[in-house]
C-alpha cells in the first residue's frame, strides 16, 4: 500500500496540470496580498478575521485542491495508469484508496504554502500599518488555526474530487462542482433553514472556526462541530460511493 501511495504521489507531482494549479494558487495569493496592501489601513486584521474575509480568501486554494483531485484520476494518462496498475496489483480496493489518499495528501504542500503566504502576508501588511486590532500572539494563533482548518478542508476537497473523478471518469467533474457551488450559494444560502446544510456556508464556518452562534430558535448552536461533521460526512459518502463503483465497474 505504501508503494502504491508513493507511486500515485509521484504521478501526481509530475502531471503538468497539477503544476499549473499550484502556480495559479500562489498567483492568487500574491494578487490578494497586493490588493490588500493598498487598503491595509481600512480595517484591522482582527476585523478581517471576524468578518470572514480571510476564510473567504482561503476558499480559492481549497477549490483548486478539489480540481487537482479530479484531474488526478481523469484523462487518458490516468486511465492508462490505472489499467497498468491493475495488471500488476489486481486488488482494486488498494488501488482506489491509494488514489484517494494520494489526492488528499498531494495537495497539502501547495495549499499549506498558499495559506502560509496569505497569513504571513496579511499579518505583515497590517502590522506595518499598525492595524492589527488585537494582541499579536493571539492573532497569530487564530491565523494559524485558520490555516490548519483550511488545509484539512483542502485535503477533504481533493479526496472528494478524486472520488467524484472516479465516478464520472471525465474532467467535467470540475464544472459540475462549480455549478453545484453556484446553486448552493444562490438557493441554499438564500434561505435560512437550508443554509445549515449548505456546503459553502459550512466550509466557511469551518475555516472561520466559529465556536458558537445564535440559532433561529434563540439557542446557542455549535457551527464548528456541525460543519466538521457535515463536511466529513459528505467526503466519506463520496469516497465510499466511488469505491463501490470502482470495484465493480470495467476499467477502460
Amino acid at each position: 500500500m505504501t508503494g502504491l501511495l508513493w507511486a500515485e504521489l509521484r504521478r501526481f507531482g509530475v502531471r503538468p496540470a497539477i503544476r499549473w494549479i499550484a502556480a495559479g494558487m500562489l498567483l492568487y495569493v500574491v494578487l490578494v496580498l497586493g490588493l490588500e496592501a493598498f487598503e491595509a489601513d481600512a480595517s484591522t486584521l482582527a476585523g478581517l478575521l471576524a468578518d470572514g474575509d480571510i476564510s473567504f480568501y482561503a476558499m480559492t486554494p481549497v477549490f483548486l485542491a478539489y480540481v487537482a483531485g479530479v484531474l488526478l484520476v481523469t484523462g487518458d494518462a490516468a486511465s492508462g495508469g490505472t489499467r497498468a496498475l491493475l495488471t500488476v496489483e489486481p486488488r482494486r480496493g488498494r488501488v482506489y484508496w491509494s488514489k484517494v489518499v494520494a489526492a488528499g495528501v498531494a495537495v497539502l504542500p501547495g495549499v499549506a504554502v498558499a495559506c502560509a503566504v496569505l497569513g504571513l502576508g496579511m499579518y505583515g501588511l497590517h502590522a506595518r500599518a499598525d492595524m492589527l486590532g488585537g494582541p499579536p500572539s493571539e492573532l497569530a494563533l487564530v491565523l494559524t488555526w485558520t490555516g490548519v482548518r483550511a488545509l484539512v478542508l483542502a485535503a477533504c476537497a481533493a479526496a472528494g474530487g478524486a472520488a467524484l473523478g472516479v465516478l464520472v471518469r471525465r474532467w467535467w467533474a470540475v464544472p459540475l462542482a462549480a455549478a453545484w457551488f453556484l446553486i448552493d450559494e444562490r438557493v441554499l444560502g438564500a434561505s435560512s433553514p437550508a443554509r445549515h446544510w449548505s456546503l459553502l456556508a459550512n466550509a466557511d464556518a469551518w475555516v472561520r472556526g466559529t465556536e458558537t452562534a445564535l440559532s433561529g430558535d434563540g439557542l446557542l448552536a455549535v457551527p464548528l462541530l456541525h460543519s466538521a461533521l457535515l463536511l466529513l460526512g459528505v467526503t466519506a459518502a463520496l469516497t465510499l460511493l466511488g469505491w463501490v463503483v470502482f470495484r465493480y465497474r470495467d476499467v477502460r
Binding site: G3, L4, W6, A7, E8, R10, R11, V14, R15, P16, D76, A77, A78, S79, G80, G81, T82, R83, A84, L85, L86, T87, V88, E89, P90, R91, Y248, D250, V251
Partner: protein
C-alpha cells in the same frame, strides 16, 4: 460474487474459460463482446488468440486480467478462479492490454521504477527487464520522446516486472515497423522458451504462424477452432484466385467438386486447396477454362471462412417485430398501388372530359358559323328580292306610261284606279321621306310573307 460462476473441474491448463459472456452497452443497445466462450490454453509455449477485428480477442484478455467483469461464465487461471482469486495471482500474471499510461515527462526507467514500487518489486528488477527487452540505453530518454517500438517494449518490460508465469499481450506488433515486429516476436518466443506461458491476441495470421504453438480462432465472440498451429494454419493450404467468363457456373461446378468457393465479383476464391491443378481439371470437365489461376497464401479471412461451420439454410421464422414490419411494408405497398391506380383513373377521366369539351366547343363553333352563313344568305336574298321588285316596279311603270300614252281618253278617268293598282303592285313603294323609317323597321304582312318564302327557298 460479482457474476454467476460455473465450476470448472481442476485441470493442468494455464487458462480455461467456460461459457464466458460479455456484453457492452452502446447507443444501439447491447453489443456482444464474447458469447459462450469455451477456451482451453495449455501451460507453456505461445498461444495465439486469432480473429478478425471485433471477434472478441481484446475483450477476452480484459476479462482474463480482471479489467472487465463477465456477465456470465467462469474463468480459471492456473486453477484459480478469476476475478475473485486475482489477488492470489498477483505477481503471476503480466499483461500488456492497451496503452500503459506512462508519464510522458518521465524517462522510461523512471516510469518502470514507479510501477515497480507500486507492485512491490525491487528496483534492481527494472534494469533486468530493460535488458531483456533490449532497452537499457534508450530507457534514459523521456517516455514522450520514445518511438512506438520503444514504447511497446517498455510496456512489455512493465509486464515482465513480476517475472510472471503468464504473459498476456494484446496485438504485440501493432504499429511497429518490420524490424520492431521481428524483435518483439523474437522476444515473445524467447520468453516462451524460458518457460513463460505467453498468450497473444492478434489479427495477423503470419504472427500466429511464426510464434504460436497453439491457436484459438475466434469469430463473433465464439471459438471457431482450437488446436495446434500446424493443424489449423498449416502452410500447405493455399487459396487460389480464379478468374473466368462464367463465374456463377464455375462456382457451382467447383462446389459440386467439393471445393470451398468464395465469390468476389467476377473473381472466385477457392480456399484450402491442396493441389491447384485439381481446380483446372474440375473446370475443364465442364469446358470452363480460367483466364487466371493464381495460388495465394491463405489469409485470415480465408481461415475464418474455412473454419466457420456451414449452417444449413433453414427458413427463418421472423420475430414479432419483423412480422410487424413486413405487414406494414405490405400494407404500404398495397396503398401505394391503389393510389397509383386512382391517379391513373383520374387522369383518364380528365382526358375524356377535355376531349368532350373540345368536341362540344367545335360543334358550337360550327353551329355559330352556320347561323352566320344563314344570316348572310338571308340578307343577300332580301337584297336580291328588293332589287327584283324594284326592277318589276320600273317595268310596270313603263308599261303604264306607255298604256296611258296609248289611251289618253281614259287617262283622267282611270287615274285613281292606276294609282290604286300601283299601290297594289308595290306595297313598299317609297312614300314621303318621313314614312320610310317605320316602313323599314316594321315590314308589312305581305313583305314578311315574301321574306319567309325566300328564306324557305334559301334553306332548300
Amino acid at each position: 460474487m460479482p457474476y454467476p460462476v460455473r465450476v470448472i473441474p481442476g485441470s493442468d491448463t494455464a487458462v480455461e474459460t467456460l461459457g464466458l459472456r460479455k456484453t457492452y452497452r452502446s447507443v444501439r443497445g447491447r453489443v456482444v463482446g464474447v458469447d459462450g466462450l469455451d477456451l482451453r490454453m495449455p501451460a507453456g509455449g505461445v498461444h495465439a488468440l486469432l480473429g478478425l477485428p471485433g471477434s472478441g480477442k481484446t475483450t477476452t484478455l480484459r476479462l482474463l486480467t480482471g479489467l472487465a467483469h463477465a456477465d456470465a461464465g467462469a474463468i480459471k487461471i492456473f486453477g484459480v478462479p478469476v476475478p475473485d482469486g486475482l489477488p492470489d495471482l498477483a505477481g503471476r500474471i503480466g499483461a500488456v492490454v492497451g496503452e500503459p499510461g506512462f508519464q510522458a515527462g518521465l524517462s522510461g526507467r523512471r516510469n518502470l521504477a514507479l510501477l515497480a514500487s507500486a507492485a512491490g518489486v525491487p528496483r534492481t528488477r527494472v534494469d533486468e527487464v530493460l535488458a531483456r527487452v533490449l532497452l537499457t540505453d534508450r530507457a534514459r530518454l523521456a517516455y514522450g520522446s520514445c518511438s512506438v517500438d520503444e514504447r511497446r517494449r517498455l510496456a512489455l518490460a512493465a509486464a515482465l516486472l513480476h517475472d510472471p508465469d503468464l504473459l498476456v499481450v494484446d496485438e504485440p506488433s501493432e504499429g511497429l515497423d518490420a524490424v520492431g515486429t521481428r524483435e518483439i516476436r523474437q522476444a515473445l518466443r524467447r520468453l516462451a522458451d524460458r518457460g513463460v506461458t505467453v498468450l497473444v491476441a492478434t489479427g495477423v495470421l503470419t504472427e500466429a504462424q511464426q510464434i504460436a504453438d497453439t491457436v484459438t480462432v475466434l469469430d463473433d465472440g465464439r471459438v471457431l477452432a482450437q488446436g495446434t498451429v500446424a493443424d489449423l494454419l498449416g502452410d500447405a493450404r493455399v487459396s487460389v484466385r480464379v478468374r473466368l467468363d462464367e463465374p456463377g457456373k464455375a462456382a457451382t461446378t467447383l462446389r459440386a467438386a467439393g471445393f470451398k468457393v468464395r465469390a468476389d465479383g467476377e473473381l472466385l476464391h477457392v480456399d484450402g486447396v491442396a493441389e491447384p491443378a485439381d481446380i483446372s481439371r474440375a473446370l475443364a470437365k465442364q469446358k470452363l477454362f480460367p483466364g487466371e489461376l493464381a495460388p495465394q497464401r491463405e489469409d485470415l479471412a480465408a481461415v475464418v471462412g474455412r473454419l466457420r461451420p456451414v449452417v444449413p439454410q433453414t427458413p427463418k421464422v421472423p420475430s414479432r417485430a419483423e412480422g410487424r414490419a413486413a405487414r406494414k411494408a405490405a400494407e404500404q405497398q398495397t396503398a401505394d398501388r391503389k393510389k397509383a391506380a386512382d391517379q391513373r383513373k383520374a387522369a383518364k377521366e380528365a382526358a375524356d372530359e377535355r376531349a368532350a369539351a373540345d368536341v362540344e366547343a367545335a360543334e358550337k363553333a360550327a353551329a355559330k358559323q352556320a347561323a352566320a352563313d344563314d344570316k348572310a344568305a338571308r340578307k343577300q336574298e332580301a337584297v336580291d328580292a328588293r332589287a327584283a321588285r324594284r326592277e318589276a316596279q320600273k317595268t310596270g311603270a313603263k308599261a303604264l306610261l306607255s298604256r296611258r300614252a296609248s289611251e289618253p281618253s281614259s287617262a283622267s278617268d282611270g287615274q285613281g284606279t292606276a294609282d290604286a293598282d300601283t299601290a297594289k303592285a308595290d306595297p313598299v313603294e317609297p312614300g314621303p321621306q318621313k314614312d320610310q323609317g317605320p316602313a323599314k323597321k316594321a315590314p308589312s304582312k305581305g313583305q314578311s310573307q315574301s321574306q319567309s318564302d325566300n328564306r324557305a327557298k334559301g334553306s332548300r
